[in-house]
Amino acid sequence: MRKEELFARLRANTHQQFDMPDMDIHALKYPDTLQQFIKMTLSSGGKIVRLKKDGDLNAAIAEAYPDAQVIASNIPGIKADRNPDLVAEAQDLNRTDVGVIRGEVGVAENACIWIPQTMKEKAICFISENLVILLDEASIVDNMHEAYARIKMTDYGFGTFISGPSKTADIEQALVMGAQAARSVTVFLLS
Amino acid sequence: MKVGLFIPCYVDALYPQVGVATSKLLHYLGVDVTYPPKQTCCGQPMANAGFERMSRPLVEKFEKVFKDFDYVVIPSVSCSAFIRFNYPKILSNCTVSEKVYDVVEFLHDILRVTALPGKFPHVVSVHNSCHGVRELGLSSPTELSGPRFNKIVDLLNLVSGITVKEPERSDECCGFGGMFAVEEPDVSKRMGEDKLADHIATGAEYITGPDCSCLMHLQGIAQKEHKNIKFKHVVEILAAGL
């Protein structure tokens, strides 16, 4: 079907048009945005570790995941066995114990963290058994309206909000963490 | 204020005591009430079944009979809702739709009753009929965000000795739905059984609500299942002692 045909039919069949509403909304704000983010992260099944920005991140990763053998990251300073910028194929990131990625914006209302794609293979965000997300405390906002006003894509052209580990309740409504993607998510809140 | 009293077909034929209670209560409260003769039906059953056009002659008749009153009061939320929201679509220049009030609304919002004479020392479970909740605003629908209120409960609490309860699923449909009860009898029965069990679980002796059609449905099931619970329309309890 040619789009011109479609557009002509749509225009002919539209009998009434409506304006956009006034987009002002008094959206939920929290008395303590950071505490709300922490609370929602925990209830989504995620974990929180609070660190100084100049703290020893590698030690913190080892403490959070002592059994991890294979770590993947392209973040400078992170001791990694694999680099999502340098692997030949995305598949090569399989069996990564811990993927370490950077979040840009945190959202208190639902523990979402915006993660723009800043690596060649975004698979690291999903194929890793466990995820560590680095997030600056100061970049947490109250709600999705504020978040969407801030987010930017990078040149790679992909971004995602992640809130806690991958989950499903498809079998008899029993909640299971770790469906197809990360089985656990630890947010390193940096100040 | 001249009030016209409309007594729906099924109340006339099956639950006349509800009409009597409504008439007596309004009279007691000093309302100038008239019951125009030769009333039949508001037209809802045919319209809900899909034949709105068959309601039209009844709509026209209702308009003619009641147009000169200030208010029309009806002891039925489903009829009141049908008249308020559907009549203007069926009849242009309809005037009655704005004057029609269910009796609970009328007592609560127009007369603003703050005292009632009667005693009803029993435990009752309130059946919040769908038309009352979601069309007339007798109570805050549990689906919506906002302050909680219930006009039926407010009025019942004016009756001395009463204990008012609500079932756990306080505004889930009982499953009557007019022709729904005969077109989908198995689903309707199951919905009614579940609702009845929910009311019985409150420990109530009576189930009460603002619409006899819901009560008729629940009562029919209760009788078939030999469940020992009684039924009264809200206005019968409010008119206790009169």
């Binding site: 479609l6 069949n13 909304i25 929602m40 194929i127 006003a149 909000f161 770790g178 | 006349p16 739905g177």
Partner: protein, 466 residues
């Protein structure tokens, strides 16, 4: 006088415990939704504005589709327009064969269900692997979804275990623990993600201003399906386009809370460009939508964001289950969409509604699915699918009510019914009221007779009390 839905529901209701479980499961989801709503004071405002944004967008649909497709192209995404299900399926097949793809992994898409894509591709020798756990279970069991968000809710853990054992996904015979079974599925699907030549997703929202295809999942399967295979095909209904990120915030906040009572899906992914070294296609599908827009009473059905809240709250859906409906989407929105798509085939669902309007109150975008069912009922005559017995009953009632002398006579005679043996009047086959009820009693003195005595009483009283 039995409709298709009523007949099927009767069969399911023969297993009351199963219905209890189904009803309680979905009531639980409704309660989870209510809990979310109580935490968002601006909830009703969100609904109002989301509804208004959709009305604006749909009534300017060609403009937004133009903007969307133009941005997609700028981002290096191929854009195709499919007139109907057949064209869509053929387009997908061509893309896959041109790229020599033998296996495609897909995340959930009701649109692909609408088009019957899986069966079509399988018949052409392409392996289609569902990766949403519920959809995967149903695929292996050769069953259709029973709900649009939790499609396998009616399947027991024992059935899942049995299926996984039979397909070599579960090595431990008899182990039906959901966590264990989910791990088995994870391992099995991991190989599929690694091997597949293409990944297909649906699209929850298409952002016109940026060209983003937004996909929301809890499992992360849409992201897994598009992170290894180099080819991504996104299937999108025309009506899924929204103006911009500012609008998106409203829908993102409403969607998951309405659907499952979670504050968000785990993943809200924005696909803007193809992967480095990869290709991305977006196929925009009409399949009747450009005609639905012309329907003055029902065009707002296109606002639907497929959250499923209406079916979760619907007391009829909860007690009759998804397979009672003739359309691939059940519940209130399914009744409406089915009537838009094929009124003659789907008129048998119209009885599945008590007009309680709970669905109108939960719909995040004010589609008013219940109110629309009332309107569809008025049109059954026009489609030739009105039930003739119901029509006769309605006409009969109307005739009695229009003629007072007949009404009056009927009430005088009605008490005789009280004496008709229960074996006749209580026979459910003769009298469907008696499937569940005993007959009410017709009174000797209806209100309009008693009223005369009341008037006398009032007059007497007013003479005594001046």
């Amino acid at each position: 006088m039995s409709t298709l839905h009523a007949k099927k529901a009767r069969e399911f209701l023969k297993e009351p415990a199963k219905i209890t479980h189904h009803d309680q499961t979905f009531w639980g989801m409704r309660m989870a939704r209510d809990k979310m709503v109580s935490q968002i004071p601006e909830w009703e405002e969100l609904r109002e504005k989301a509804s208004a944004i959709k009305r604006h967008t749909i009534s300017h649909l060609s403009d937004y589709l133009e903007e969307f497709s133009s941005n997609l192209k700028k981002n290096g995404v191929h854009v195709l327009w499919a007139k109907d299900a057949e064209e869509f399926n053929q387009m997908v097949l061509k893309i896959l064969t041109d790229h020599q793809v033998k296996k495609i992994v897909k995340s959930k898409s009701m649109l692909t269900e609408e088009c019957g894509m899986n069966d079509f591709l399988m018949s052409k020798g392409i392996d289609v692997v569902e990766t949403d756990l519920g959809e995967r279970i149903l695929q292996l069991m050769h069953l259709k979804p029973a709900h649009i968000v939790v499609p396998a809710i009616h399947i027991t853990r024992q059935q899942v275990a049995h299926t996984f054992e039979a397909d070599g996904i579960s090595p431990e015979k008899g182990n039906d623990d959901p966590t264990y079974l989910t791990r088995c599925a994870r391992n099995s699907l991991r190989s599929e993600f690694l091997e597949a030549g293409a990944g297909m997703t649906g699209c929850n929202f298409g952002v016109a201003k940026t060209g983003d295809v937004v996909v929301c999942t809890n499992e992360g399967n849409a992201d897994m399906a598009t992170s290894m295979p180099k080819l991504h095909i996104a299937a999108m209904g025309l009506e899924k386009v929204i103006p911009d990120y500012e609008s998106l915030a409203f829908f993102q906040r409403l969607l998951c809370r309405s659907a499952t009572g979670q504050p968000t899906t785990t993943y809200t992914s924005h696909f803007r460009k193809p992967r480095p070294g990869g290709e991305m296609y977006v196929i925009l599908v009409d399949n009747g939508r450009s005609d639905f827009i012309a329907n003055p009473d029902h065009w707002e059905t296109l606002k639907c964001i497929r959250c499923g809240a209406c079916m979760n709250t619907c007391p009829v859906y909860r007690r009759s289950m998804g397979y009672s409906y003739s359309f691939f989407i059940p519940g209130p929105i399914g009744i409406d969409l089915g009537m838009l798509k094929d009124p003659k085939a789907n008129s048998g669902n119209i009885s599945a509604c008590s007009l309680c309007l709970s669905c109108d109150d939960v719909c995040p975008v004010h589609v008013n699915p219940g109110s629309q069912i009332y309107l569809w009922r008025q049109q059954l005559e026009h489609f030739g699918t009105a039930n003739s017995e119901k029509k006769l009953m309605s006409w009969g009632m109307s005739w009695v009510y229009r003629n007072y002398s007949i009404y009056n006579m009927a009430l005088k005679v009605a008490p005789l019914l009280n004496y008709v043996p229960k074996s006749i009047i209580g026979n459910p086959k003769m009298n469907p009221w008696c499937v569940g009820h005993l007959m009410p009693e017709f009174v000797r003195k209806p209100f309009h007779v008693l009223e005369k005595d009341l008037e006398k009483e009032y007059e007497k009283k007013s003479k005594i009390e001046p």
